[in-house]
């Protein structure tokens, strides 16, 4: 049986046997300027795939590294290994079903994707959400932010070589996840927010777990992260690595903790307040160094702020209905709505165009990690190979949101 062949992507004259992609692939033909500059290999340089299955790429990210010895000269990230075509599916789904499509986008903090979608649908419908539902949304979203930051703190230390912090942070994260599972019914992809409110009211089990967790939340965080803050090796390794100054951050459209670590106090909960954030008193931690240590410490501060917000939410929780009354079949007015939410990794925005039918005409979801990966092209050249993984861990990309 002759092995089937296919014309190579580079020059159609060359045929590559389909099964035998050969021990190696010829270096691809450059089609764009950037590729020409990237594939021009000088003496001593070689191309290595830090590929889709790699311990330190968070998810299925592939980075083609051009290295000279241990020093990274240039890199070309290749995305799309988790592209599930969510936007096309949202265009063929009912307005209620879109929430379950948007859930697994940024799967580490999935309540924020739902909040973005639900907020823009409510703008389309000019809907008034009851205050109790708003407070429950803020409470559960801030819990999700704490869980997401705990995972980030664990993974950043894991990528620098420390094994214990990930066990500490996952113990904390699993506790919050069990608490949110008691509230929403699901552990990771909550599907809890609805258009006009939330799915269910606070129940006893959630409140009791939250009560005894709040008692020791601050102490566990301080002990866990104190393990790293005073650790000389960790601090000297993370300081001064992957520095982003204010100007490049703005030019690269970076948002969220990575932007606030470079000295720009832009937090959507203060800059463009939504839901009940104006009534809550918390401050926006900002640092000016812009290196990996600043991003790490900033997220620790953000966890402290979130604990303050959760505390206030519990005290000011009003009574009343949990979701607005809505018809089963939603046909919003033809029009456009854009809404943006401060997700743990940045600004997660949703842009909906509706044409009066019960399915959205166009649903655009913007994920912050997509742009944080672009920073890798600026930060990594010139560093050593182990440092590149630490820089990528400090930017905290989630491939579900990047690849949509």
């Amino acid at each position: 049986m002759t092995t089937p062949t296919r014309p190579s992507l580079d020059d159609p004259a060359l045929t590559i046997p389909v099964d035998h992609a050969g021990i190696f692939e010829p270096i691809p033909l450059a089609r764009t300027e950037r590729q020409q500059e990237f594939y021009a290999l000088k003496d001593g340089e070689l191309l290595i795939n830090m590929g889709p299955q790699h311990p330190s790429t968070h998810g299925v990210l592939r980075v083609v590294l051009k290295i000279n010895g241990e020093k990274v000269v240039d890199l070309d990230p290749v995305l799309g290994y988790l592209h599930r075509g969510v936007e096309k599916l949202c265009e063929n789904a009912d307005y209620h079903q879109v929430i379950s499509h948007v859930d697994p986008l940024e799967y580490i903090a999935s309540l924020f994707n739902e909040w973005g979608a639900v907020l823009s649908f409510e703008k389309l419908l000019d809907l008034e959400v009851p205050r109790r539902a708003e407070y429950i949304r803020v409470l559960s979203a801030e819990l999700n932010r704490v869980a997401s930051h705990m995972l980030y703190l664990g993974f950043f230390a894991l990528d620098l070589g420390g094994i214990t912090p990930i066990l500490w942070s996952f113990a904390e994260r699993d506790e919050i996840m069990e608490m949110l599972a008691a509230l929403t019914g699901q552990k990771l992809l909550f599907n809890y927010f609805r258009i006009g409110g939330v799915n269910g009211d606070l129940n006893h089990e959630f409140m009791s777990r939250l009560g005894d967790w709040m008692g020791r939340a601050g102490a566990q965080l301080e002990a866990g992260m104190g393990l790293l803050n005073e650790n000389e090796i960790f601090v000297r390794r993370a300081r001064g690595m992957g520095v982003i100054d204010r100007e490049t951050a703005l030019r690269m459209c970076v948002t969220g903790p990575n932007l606030r670590a470079s000295g720009v106090p832009f937090d959507l909960r203060r800059a463009h307040p939504y839901s009940v954030y104006p009534e809550l008193d918390f401050d926006v931690p900002t640092r000016s160094e812009g290196d990996s240590l600043a991003r790490f410490l900033l997220r620790v501060d953000e966890v402290r702020q979130s604990l303050r917000i959760i505390d206030q939410c519990l005290h000011q929780m009003p009574d009343g209905p949990v979701s607005a009354r809505l018809p089963r079949l939603l046909r919003p007015r033809p029009g456009r709505a854009f809404s943006s939410v401060e997700a743990p990794r940045g600004q997660c925005s949703t842009y909906v165009i509706s044409d009066g039918t019960d399915q959205p005409f166009r649903m655009r979801i913007h994920d912050p990690s997509f742009l944080h990966l672009q920073l890798m092209g600026l930060l990594m050249p010139g560093n050593l190979l182990p440092d590149t993984m630490a820089i990528m861990a400090s930017l905290d990309p989630v491939m579900g949101g990047v690849d949509k």
Binding site: D19, I23, E25, P28, L47, N49, Q53, G69
Partner: protein, 118 residues
């Protein structure tokens, strides 16, 4: 002269252990050649770019050299550690001289900046 038997016994045990293990694994394991993908180099699932016989920088060699030098040192220290309690004259001083010369080597390498990657 009876010490020689220990040496012979030790040599026989070493050599036979190696061949016994290989024979056992040959005997009790199934074996298939696998499809053409089995033999391809592993680079997280992607075929490697360019032929892999590129020239490597010399810095890797220097690191390997340093590692070997300081690893063999441990072998001697282990043997020395076995008899460290016996009252042999000059036991500590001999090891001290050995370790100091190696530290001098490390200091020289450090001064010349070999440890930072170039």
């Amino acid at each position: 002269m009876e010490g020689i038997w220990y040496v012979v016994g030790f040599a026989i045990a070493g050599v036979s252990f190696v061949f016994l293990v290989i024979a056992a694994s040959w005997l009790i394991s199934h074996r298939t050649k696998g499809s053409h993908l089995k033999g391809l180099p592993y680079e997280s699932g992607i075929p490697t770019y360019g032929d892999t016989h590129g020239r490597f920088g010399v810095s890797y060699y220097i690191y390997a050299l340093l590692f070997v030098a300081f690893d063999i040192e441990v072998v001697f220290i282990f043997l020395w550690a076995l008899v460290v309690r016996d009252p042999i004259p000059g036991l500590i001083t001999s090891m001290a001289i050995f370790v100091v010369t190696l530290l001098l080597g490390l200091a020289y390498a450090w001064r010349k900046g070999v440890l930072t990657w170039r």
